[in-house]
């Protein structure tokens, strides 16, 4: 890519990109850690997630500040403008993913206090898919690859249908034996958190398409036609 006449501008943009990638990486780790804490019934591990999340929160603030500084000092246009506004938007989604990982970790700590329910393979599958979606959305951002972003958006349907299967499975468990209700209900929350993680990954992917192509694909039909 062609460099800016003012080299400091390039360095500031690069710094913003790196911060986002660090934040994205941390969020991925948070999901992986919270799910491992759940499946391996490791409450100590679950407790580390909130510490990881504090780092994510700190980075979110830094990224917001960097974007504001770039907007006011550079008055960016065209691809720079799209990159910076994308950064401002996706940082919110990524931070929310981190929060959801913390919620999963809290559920894990709660569940670990009771004996395990029978293994639920669909839950691991949902977690894998959720993590893959987050990683793919981040890859699409790094590589500025709108095709990859489109794939993320498509795959969200898979995640949704897996989630609905899981809800039915967990409801069946509750009906089978009322003693399952508390634990199955917690797992229902975990499943919901994973489904939401997928939605945030989709938001990131939509913004990547905007960043690269300059077209906003969200909410078709609700755009006001301007003359």
């Amino acid at each position: 890519m062609k460099a800016h006449t003012d080299k400091t501008y390039d360095l500031q943009l690069e710094d913003l990109r790196n911060k986002l990638l660090t934040l994205g990486g941390n969020v991925e780790t948070e999901i992986a850690t919270s799910m491992r804490a759940l499946t391996e019934r490791d409450s100590k591990l679950a407790e580390t997630v909130s510490g990881q999340d504090r780092e994510v929160n700190r980075l979110e603030i830094e990224i917001d500040e960097a974007c504001r500084r770039l907007l006011v000092l550079r008055q960016p246009a065209a691809s720079d403008l799209r990159f910076i506004t994308t950064a401002l938007k996706i940082v919110v989604d990524l931070e929310r993913i981190g929060d959801l990982a913390v919620n999963i970790a809290e559920r894990a700590i709660d569940l670990n206090q009771s004996p395990p329910l029978k293994p639920i393979p669909d839950l691991s599958r949902l977690a894998d898919l959720g993590q893959r979606q987050v990683r793919a959305a981040l890859d699409a951002f790094v590589e500025a690859d709108p095709d990859k972003a489109e794939q993320v958006i498509k795959n969200d349907d898979l995640l949704d249908s897996l989630y609905h299967n899981l809800v039915n499975e967990l409801l069946a468990l509750m009906m089978e034996d009322p003693r399952n209700i508390r634990r199955a209900n917690s797992l229902l929350f975990v499943a919901k958190h994973l489904e939401r993680i997928g939605d945030h990954a989709t938001n990131v992917a939509e913004m990547v398409i905007y960043m690269v192509r300059g077209t906003d694909i969200r909410h078709p039909g609700s755009r006001v036609q301007r003359k």
Binding site: K2, D6, Y9, A77, A78, L81, G214
Partner: protein
Amino acid sequence: MRPKVEVRSLNAWFKANHALRNVSLTVPANTVLAIIGPSGCGKTTFVRCLNRMHELVPGACQSGNVLVDGQDLHARRVDPVNLRRRVGMVFQRANPFPTMTIFDNVVAGLKLNGVRGDYPALVEKSLRQAALWDEVKDRLRQSAVSLSGGQQQRLCIARALAVDPEVLLMDEPASALDPIATARIEELIRQLRESLTIVIVTHNMQQAARVSDSTAFFYMGELIEHGPTEQIFTNPRESRTEDYVTGKFG
């Protein structure tokens, strides 16, 4: 939208220097066109072709057509002086007539054109249009150079408006002004757009983005891209435009 100014295959030269290369574009009535581009790209030459000021430079010539309301500016029956009344111009440096009063500056064009009428009323109307009336209404008989730079520039705009032009060409009208005076001029451009068609040359890209409906990017005498302003600044089609608006040029 009705085209007010149509430029077809316009070429301009200063002796051997080919300053404009085959430029074609249309400005609809009651819109603002911003011209951006690096120094020497042909912006000023372009606007000076729109009221036949280019031909005043020794050694300058041009080819192609410029039409205002469908009428070719170079048709034999077009009188350039009368044309410049219809297509007014405001320059980078405020240039009020220094020996004249504020009042006389505003009516200078009218007198020159032999227009008779209620001068005090016309002066008030023009100064109001230029958003200067309240600041000068009590000192119309003072010298124009007693005004601040921003006021002088608005006085020049009032002078241009007094002859009731249909098109207003503005060549860097705010580049020598402070941010407040600049904001006044920009607000004025938005108001004038209701009754006029405006072409503004500017080095300030944020200004182009704020005041114009469409933006044209010139480079080395060529029109590289002309499109809706929002598109030019958020998602230009041409890589040279992208490089220019993002600051990756040269």
